[in-house]
């Protein structure tokens, strides 16, 4: 049985790599990918990286995207539109660390995309 995929997006690759490590210490069976920094490895976000991260974890249960600051949200929404997938949610104003952790826990329990998102919204 598949689990909801989680994409962690940040202006900095160190931030998402760190959050990924934090979650992976506890959860190993959840599809999580990261999109941090620009294509040149600088501070910012990249639609290409977000699209690749979506592809990495996409499955029929859907994908939840979490981001750090405003412009990352815009690129996340653009990437979702370009991906053509329907069952993707961009989590609005969800704290990245806590949200990523809770999403991973919920996803590992086999919850649906809507249930996972509802859980992170309560943080």
């Amino acid at each position: 049985m598949s689990s909801v995929g989680i994409v962690l997006i940040s202006h900095s690759s160190k931030i998402v790599d760190g959050v990924y490590d934090l979650i992976s210490q506890v959860m190993t069976d959840v599809p999580i990918s990261v999109a941090g920094g620009t294509n040149d490895g600088e501070i910012g976000t990249s639609i290409d990286k977000i699209l690749a991260a979506i592809e990495e974890v996409y499955n029929e249960k859907g994908v939840l995207l979490l981001y750090d600051l405003g412009s990352a949200m815009m690129n996340a929404e653009l990437a979702v539109e370009l991906s053509g997938y329907e069952n993707i949610i961009v989590g609005e104003n969800v704290p990245l660390v806590e949200g990523g952790y809770v999403a991973a826990v919920e996803s590992s329990m086999g919850k649906t995309l809507e249930e996972v998102y509802a859980a992170v919204k309560t943080i």
Partner: protein, 205 residues
């Protein structure tokens, strides 16, 4: 109203303005944002000019579509998705239609709606919307292009953001401290309309 050649000239002029004012845009953004606006836009529009100068186009719509895609993929900050969305909407409005003042007016209106949709900003929040809104209003209220008026409206609107408190974007974290600084995205939007005004007034001579 806007030929394919003029569209290319518009982007070349915008690129020159952004390179010339790179430090100024950066200083505006450093005061109340993350300081990457000048760097991101100068890089983005250099990429735009390299792309469009190496391609043959049959319409201004096709030029603007490539401008949009280049900015979206090459600019890591907020200006990439925002300007990218604006140019994409303008491109769609001009697609397969005769470029008249009316279609262009529809185009800038839809570009503004695209910026609002993407950035979830409203007028008065100290963002580029504060320049695009009065510019769209000017286009809607007139029935022919007036480059002097366009420059005046856009410049005044950009300068007016100085006294506004930011409630959107990175500057909103600063609250009252954002007052007293011009919004960098509004300033670069002014350069964009100034470039358009210059290209179209040259064409009229």
């Amino acid at each position: 109203m806007l030929t394919t050649e003029q569209t290319i000239m518009w982007m070349e002029k915008m690129s020159i303005k952004v390179q010339e004012n790179k430090e100024y845009l950066t200083s505006l953004d450093q005061a109340i944002g993350d300081g990457d606006h000048g760097i991101n836009l100068s890089r983005g529009f250099s990429e735009v000019v390299s792309k469009i100068s190496a391609t043959n186009y049959n319409s201004s719509s096709d030029v603007l579509k490539d401008v949009a895609m280049t900015l979206m993929s090459k600019v890591g900050g907020a200006s990439g998705p925002l300007y990218g969305t604006a140019f994409l909407k303008l491109s769609m409005a001009l697609n397969e239609k005769e470029s008249t003042f009316e279609t262009f007016t529809t185009g800038v209106d839809e570009a503004l709606n695209g910026i609002i949709m993407r950035g979830k900003a409203q007028p008065g929040e100290k963002t580029m919307v504060d320049v695009w809104s009065p510019v769209v209003k000017l286009f809607k209220e007139t029935n022919e292009f007036n480059s002097d008026k366009l420059k005046d409206v856009a410049r005044e609107a950009a300068e007016a953001t100085k006294d506004v408190k930011a409630t959107k974007g990175r500057a909103s974290y600063l609250g009252d401290r954002s007052i007293g600084h011009i919004d960098s995205g509004s300033m670069s939007s002014y350069y964009l309309f100034e470039a358009l005004a210059e290209v179209l007034s040259e064409g009229a001579k």
